[in-house]
């Protein structure tokens, strides 16, 4: 279903209204079953047109649910109560905005999508329906009527506990995070790739993003590795555990256990970092579980990741190993680039009379830019910058000597290109087309340039300077 796709693709397309609801501290494990029965039937508005009213109703109802059990919150969730309450809740979630006959998963998705589509600004999003969607695909019948569906979830306690854990995720907002024996490191996420590896890319960003809503908490919360299992041997559904609360300790350990030990290896630690999000990191097996060391390790991994990326950027750093040397190279490179800018600006400043050249002429020359940049990389539209070895290496020879060579090659290139006169009036931003169009001509042009450059014999390579 399209809505389903939209929902899963975005992952975070859940309307923001979910957040206050669950941010109010829904703890599925603690919901009082009796209060849940008292949910007003006005919940069920078949049409989602009055989305705002629905939202308010929902919020108020849920807040009533939430607030009551919060006070009488036991330390340990009751599985029995969990399942009932969860079923009802999920049923209600699904039944809200049921308008047409849609398949169950998309129904749930549409419940979230259509009712709460008004864009709201706060970042964290609820992926509850995502998670539940995963769980109850194929299990949820279409509630044709507008009554509370019987919520025929599998009576699997593991599922219930998982759902409870996920509910508890969003319930952690107002809770303190000091837990007895379990802590999490809250680290900004880095790679979504890591999440997908662990099998649940959809859940991860939004789940962890809800943690972002709990940013008020200090960063010192960490979760130590818990080798022993408490309960819930479900499959690994959630790759990133989210925030925890004191009361949801068990539930969250629940979530932890769900990551099957088989799938979760020593490299369970995540260093993913979508901006402004926090994820929890587990201590690796056999490593220090000290909070400081955990944080430090994550930080170090992030930095090393960035260093690898920088290594691609800075030319000639592939052989270099070690951070110190790498950093020196980076610093030198940045300094050389800045010096180049200064030098070129000096040159441009002295070119006085030419400054009156019309913009059109200059813009027409700009068409050549992608062409010029092509030979230096396989894919000019790659994410990383094209390797710039020639100019950099020539830096060692000195800027002055570099200048005339560059000009020579550039001018020869330009003249040859002008001779070819394949001036395609492509759109300024249509470089994709332009480059592919020029690519065939590029080879011939470059060869000519190289031929003219031979007497210079710089590096014996394609010195198509830019």
């Amino acid at each position: 279903m399209e809505k389903h796709k939209i929902f899963t693709r975005e992952g975070n397309g859940i309307p923001q209204s979910w957040n206050p609801i669950f941010g109010m501290g829904i703890q599925g494990s603690e919901l009082n079953p009796t209060t849940s029965d008292q949910l007003p039937n006005s919940f069920f508005k078949p049409n989602c047109e009055s989305s705002v009213d629905q939202r308010d109703l929902f919020e108020s109802a849920l807040s009533s649910i939430v607030s009551s059990p919060v006070n009488s919150h036991p330390g340990i969730p009751i599985p029995g109560a969990d399942s009932i309450v969860l079923r009802e809740l999920i049923g209600r979630l699904g039944s809200i905005c049921n308008s047409n006959e849609i398949s169950p998963p998309s129904r749930i998705n549409s419940a979230n999508n259509s009712c709460y589509n008004t864009p709201l600004n706060s970042p964290p999003k609820l992926n509850l329906s995502n998670t539940t969607d995963h769980q109850i695909q194929g299990n949820y019948p279409i509630p044709g009527n507008h009554q509370l569906p019987p919520a025929p979830f599998p009576a699997d306690p593991g599922f219930v506990e998982r759902a409870a854990a996920r509910f508890s995720i969003f319930g952690a907002k107002n809770e303190s995070f000091k837990t007895g024996g379990s802590q999490f490191i809250r680290i900004p996420e880095e790679n979504k790739k890591l999440m997908t590896e662990l099998g649940d890319s959809i859940e991860e960003p939004s789940v962890s993003e809800t943690g972002a809503g709990i940013k008020g908490q200090s960063n010192g919360r960490k979760r130590k590795g818990i080798p022993n299992t408490t309960r819930g041997k479900g499959k690994e559904t959630q790759s990133s555990t989210t925030t925890i609360s004191a009361k949801d300790d068990k539930a969250v350990t629940e979530v932890e256990k769900e990551k099957s030990e088989a799938k979760r290896s020593k490299s369970n630690e995540k260093s993913t970092e979508p901006p402004k999000d926090y994820i929890h990191v587990r201590a690796r097996r056999g490593q220090a579980t000290d909070s400081h060391s955990l944080a430090e390790r994550v930080r170090r991994e992030k930095i090393s990741e960035r260093m690898k990326f920088l290594q691609d950027l800075v030319p000639g750093c592939n052989k270099v190993t070690g951070k110190a040397v790498m950093l020196d190279e980076i610093i030198n490179y940045v300094q050389s680039l800045q010096r180049q800018v200064e030098f070129l600006s000096m040159k441009l400043a002295t070119v006085n009379p030419r400054m009156d050249v019309s913009m059109e002429a200059l813009l027409s020359k700009d068409m050549f830019r992608p062409l010029v940049s092509l030979p230096n990389s396989v894919n000019p539209f790659d994410a990383s910058v094209q390797p710039f070895p020639y100019g950099y290496q020539s830096q060692t020879n000195g800027m002055i000597s570099d200048g005339p060579e560059n000009q020579f090659s550039m001018n020869s290139l330009m003249t040859t290109m002008q001779h070819n006169s394949v001036m395609k009036p492509s759109h300024i931003d249509g470089f994709g087309e332009a480059s592919t169009f020029w690519e065939n001509d590029l080879q011939s042009i470059v060869k000519m340039a190289i031929g003219q450059d031979q007497p210079q014999g710089i590096h014996g390579q394609m010195k198509v300077e830019l």
């Binding site: 920088l310 950027l313 800018v341 040159k347 200059l362 539209f381 001018n411 300024i428």
Partner: protein, 164 residues
Amino acid sequence: MSPSQQPTSLNNPAYLKNQFAHRFIRALNNLHHTKTPPHHNYKMYNRSTRVKIAANTAMASVVGSRRAWSRAVLWKIRKLRSRKRVNCHHQEKVSLKRRNPKPKTEDFNNPFGDSSQESKLRELVPGGETLDAVCLMGETANYIKCLVAQVEVMKTLVDLYNPT
């Protein structure tokens, strides 16, 4: 900061160069059309300095507010301009609020082998003083990428103007 998160248009270095070229050329034309150089600041009077500032500003404006370094560059330029108008001859060091706290115990947490390298990097990358180590690396990567594009464009321009 990771490449996967950048907008696709900025991932394209050709796009970067093109945008930068446009703005830079416009700025250059403006520069050279103003016959009377400003006398507010001796440093600013130098034409090459002005060209350099124009180039950096153009590059930073292409990147916009997405990057800390571009924000820092634009902010400094704005401060410079406002001070010029006020006719102030003193150039105070721009002090930016710390965005992310530096690690308290440098030795313990310093992933860099040498802290002087880190400080050097902070000096080089505009706006790097307020960044923590992780963000600093990301900013450096982006800064290098944009610098490369800038240098390429400027070289092309120089060759355009001096076809010798």
